[in-house]
Point group: C2
């Protein structure tokens, strides 16, 4: 397959946009990416768009790419709508990459866009139900409740579907604490770090900094999670322009190359062969690299414990040593392997279908040396990991990309 | 790019399945395809699934592929959910082809599945709204009403969204009649032909035959369309297994090759450069073939006039001569170029997201010489054309494949 470079990127600030829909958010991200690359709209040859929830939020299914792109005058090119829950736009990015890597097209647009914020909160919550097997939702919810809720009785129904995911993350966090002695404070440190990073990112939804005590004292969600250890709900869009090696030279002197692209699904057991480990291994193999080559990573910190466990899954430390990694400051800005310099899902925000390309946008900035106050000095190789959905207790999709200059 | 062969196919009969959901329909189609090819589930390396309406019908968005495939024990492989309205599964087929053609994987599953039939008719109708720009739906509906409805006042709201598409088709049919002298009887002849073909296809939703008089006398939908000139609502699934050239030899002595794959969107003007013409040109170029090489075609006869106009768009006759083609029997079984031997959308049925792969399934059977009573003798080259969605008055997606033995 051919070498593929990212030559343009753009994103909206993530947040709650009462007055902007998918079209406006998409336009801002795509216009920025095109302008950056100096590429005319008519030079685009194919577009792949990731969105997870518009069918539930606005009734717009089927043709979201066409609806948002034609509004801004992008027309007459192949457009594909891709979904994989929270990994929708990293999936879109892989497809855009594949269209170029295969030799079929030379210039591709990958866009992620999401509008979760509505006045009707039940509708926002219903979007999360759509990311699991809706028939099994109720059954799974019962199984995953923390012990206290089993005793006390608990909430139920569609409004619980977001907290279903939080319950799953909380159960995994408790298991990690029990098995490896990981502490709630270590999880909280990750939230401190990511909010610190977010305070340096103009595109982050939340730019406040918090002390360890404030993270721990924020409202309890599901033991050991507090609210500040969980990603917020928000809106946003992120875009990337991918081109063939030959075209790259026309558009930039600083191409960022896609070295590995892996999409997998399946078991999320924390054992050898779990879904994140398999995705990382495959992406590293394709890139002919190892975790030691990586200088900066964006990973799917839907909760703070998720990031800690991903350190291990992705091969950045041995199993059970995630707590040590954050404790020793390895993953902070200034550490050996800064993680979620953008603020991650926790602080930058998590407009589901936009997250994957937004992660790639951050690594693209870092590898170009254009990440401003949160720049990782000398970063040459970066990685993104984006997870999405849950079916029969297993991850629906995990997408890993390895990028380099 | 590498040569890619279809080595297995399967589909459910299309119809109204009160007691079967996406999982059961998918299982039947995929099991049949795998058994045909003699491929174990675990040999699949990637799966792309097209579905258009589950988000609206059942609330299942985001992870439909994973939900239907894990239920039948297909797991731990990359799964992508693709949407392009009525062209969702031909889009999925292109992506599956691309995964193999690029060299990334050797064995891919393309699945289309749809469940439109529910007790709640308003919900079925809402699925059609999702295939256009929902914000512009009302405006477009006003513009496209036949003159009589403008005068008399008319229905409105979500229940009108399916007939929106019928109004668009009717308006194009009227323009064709006015410009080229095409007659309502010529449109009706296409419905006669496709119902005749459907009567020979065990997988067709409707297997009744109708006279020209019966087609014309069926209830009026939107002049010149009668009900029997319009595709019905139904459920179903269709699957295809695609493999690399090297693998093909292991699985079959009769591979069917994907010679051209084109996905485009944009203007649906009936002028040079319309969306169907552009898709066909691109697919023929890739295949190094011309319309004269084609022996059998499945095309998107959502209405009978649509098929007649597609004869011209796809290059099978000069502009304005579609009426002559049907009149002279060219596209009937036994004619020079049989079209919609399966019964087409009109008689085989049109479970939106399943239609694209079902078209490919029919051509695959024809090229293998296994189409039973509707076999086109000596068919060596076949073609499929699948259209989907409408945004700003233009086609959201048209997908054309050229296949050959």
């Amino acid at each position: 397959m051919r070498n593929v470079a990212i030559v343009g990127g753009g994103m909206t600030r993530f947040g709650k946009y009462a007055d902007q829909g998918l079209k406006q958010l998409s336009k801002e991200a795509v216009d920025t990416a095109l302008q950056f690359a100096g590429i005319e709209k008519r030079a685009l040859e194919v577009a792949v768009v990731g969105n997870a929830a518009a069918g539930v939020i606005t009734g717009q299914e089927c043709v979201r790419a066409q609806v948002v792109l034609r509004e801004m005058g992008i027309d007459k090119i192949p457009m594909v709508n891709a979904e994989n829950a929270c990994a929708s736009s990293s999936t879109a990015f892989q497809l855009a990459w594949l269209y170029v890597a295969s030799g079929m097209y030379d210039v591709a647009l990958a866009l992620g866009v999401e509008k979760l914020y509505t006045e009707d909160k039940a509708r926002s919550m219903a979007a999360f139900s759509a990311a699991v097997d809706v028939e099994q939702l109720r059954e799974v919810m019962e199984r995953l409740k923390p012990p206290s809720e089993h005793a006390a009785g608990s909430k139920s129904g569609a409004g619980r579907s977001r907290s279903l995911f939080m319950d799953i993350y909380a159960a995994a966090a408790r298991a990690h604490m029990q098995k490896y002695g990981t502490t709630k404070e270590q999880f909280a440190r990750i939230a401190v770090k990511n909010h610190d990073n977010g305070s340096l990112n103009p595109h982050a939804q939340y730019r406040e900094r918090y002390s360890l005590e404030e993270i721990l004292a924020s409202p309890a969600i599901s033991e050991p999670l507090t609210r500040l250890m969980c990603a917020p709900i928000g809106d946003g869009a992120a875009a990337a322009i991918l081109v063939s090696e030959e075209k790259a030279r026309h558009y930039t002197t600083k191409p960022v190359w896609v070295r590995g692209s892996a999409l997998v699904s399946g078991s999320d057991d924390r054992s050898v062969g779990n879904v994140n480990a398999r995705a990382a291994q495959r992406a590293f193999e394709m890139a002919a690299m190892t975790p030691r080559d990586v200088n900066v990573v964006e990973m799917h910190d839907a909760t703070a414990p998720a990031e800690l466990m991903l350190y291990e899954d992705l091969g950045f430390c041995p199993e059970g040593e995630g707590g040590r990694l954050i404790q020793e400051g390895v993953t902070e800005l200034g550490g050996r392997l800064p993680v979620n310099t953008s603020g991650g899902l926790l602080a930058k925000g998590h407009p589901v279908g936009a997250t994957g390309v937004a992660q790639i946008y951050e690594i693209w900035l870092q590898l170009r040396g254009e990440a401003g106050d949160r720049q990782v000095a000398g970063a040459k190789v970066g990685m993104t990991q984006n997870g999405g959905g849950m079916v029969r207790g297993e991850a629906a999709a995990t997408v890993v990309h390895v990028l380099s200059i």
